[in-house]
Symmetry: C2
Subunit: 247 residues, 2 copies
């Protein structure tokens, strides 16, 4: 990535970030948990509406179930803390109804803003947790069991699991994961289509991500027809309906 020397502790902390999947089997002190939650609640939020809820999972059976649904991710069970991070427009609806008003119908915009709001809180918690020495892992695999998880957590209409978040004491420090070149993700005034050379450059930059040395295998498995994302799409739409977030 960059060779610039980090000019302060915050930028140096961000530089040291790694996703951690091996955790020590130890609880988090209550004051640390409170500091992390306090930090998250201070994150920016669209229209100050706080369209998120975090369900802290302390029940070991629930942790095991979610770990299995997410594809056998043992760190979900072992992490000191594990949250299901939810997009939530239910609370707004309740606030309006409490004063005799109705909620409008804006399900697509709701997902857009509520996923963003939840992620502003989550990433602020992550950086706070890392500053206290913890490691973290986001769990996108929650979408593999999004229907079951919504039911198990008794999520009402207007609430949808976005992903999971493990926070724990690291028992590993993996190598830095690669990124595509900067000019492919930051552009000026208009979108620039990547050239064939750019795409080759991206494959070269990302090669260390797999043992095979070929990022294509990962992209194909996740994103091509019949891949992980297409499989998730079916269940995702059913769950949107179940959670009253349909068109």
């Amino acid at each position: 990535m960059s060779n610039t020397t980090a000019p302060n502790e915050v930028i140096s902390l961000i530089d040291r970030h790694r996703t951690i999947r091996a955790f020590r089997d130890e609880p988090m002190p209550a004051d640390h948990l409170q500091l992390i939650i306090d930090a998250g609640r201070k994150a920016p939020t669209d229209a100050t509406a706080q369209m998120y809820s975090f369900i802290r999972i302390t029940d070991p059976d629930l942790r095991k179930l979610i770990a299995e649904l997410a594809g056998g991710q043992a760190h979900v069970v072992r992490a000191s803390e594990f949250f299901i991070v939810c997009a939530d427009v239910h609370r707004i609806a309740r606030m309006l109804e409490h004063r005799g008003e109705k909620m409008g119908h804006w399900p697509r915009v709701a997902i857009h803003f509520a996923v963003a709001d939840a992620t502003l809180v989550a990433q602020t918690m992550v950086i706070a947790a890392e500053s206290l020495g913890y490691g973290i892992c986001y769990i996108g695999g929650v979408l593999n069991g999004i229907d079951v998880i919504s039911r198990e957590l008794k999520l009402p209409v207007g609430v949808l699991p976005a992903y999971g978040l493990c926070i724990g004491i690291p028992n590993e420090y993996p190598n830095r994961r690669p990124r595509v070149p900067q000019h492919l993700v930051v552009m000026e005034n208009q979108y620039v289509e990547p050239s064939a050379a750019d795409l080759d450059e991206a494959y070269t930059a990302m090669a260390p991500i797999t043992r095979s040395g070929d990022w294509f295998a990962v992209l194909q498995r996740y994103f091509a027809p019949g891949g992980t994302m297409e499989q998730r799409e079916v269940l995702y739409r059913e769950t949107l309906k179940q959670q009253g977030l349909e068109d």
Copy 2:
């Protein structure tokens, strides 16, 4: 919020966060911009797929147009830096096609993960920028002109503006904005429906947000039938279609 003393610089920085709308009319040094972008690129990303693009807006006319579309937000023009933060699954499609593979069809899951990915990067950039003394403002109002902005920035199929992000030198330090009580946003093992007393408590906590002292007026204007979000929903769906992110 909490009365706990911040135990380190990072948590103290997060505590000092305020949304800034008054900026000094000064450019950002190139090395600071680079540090902020470097920080963002190191953020966690789903499946290491980096489903985001940031369009840095340096063209003054484009800044003015976006500021107007977003509802006359002068800070979009005045901030040292302004980005349109985009959800982007186009690059993945191009990577697959480059190797003779097709992109799957998963438009709903694409918005979900790409908005999350973009926000992980944005909020990491925000905390890095704040550590360098900058102030920030997210611009959800970009959704008021999402169709025009997508065309002006020549966003291809698979790319959607999520929101704007101003970064600049603060010329104000507003009071802390209120938040709803913690037990309404962090729950344990299952969702807890707020009681009538909880909703009253939330209205009381949030009252300082408006001159009228009544959060209800804000909630109604944004979220009730005929409000801002319902108006955005129509244009949002048209733009999803325009950007090839329809069902």
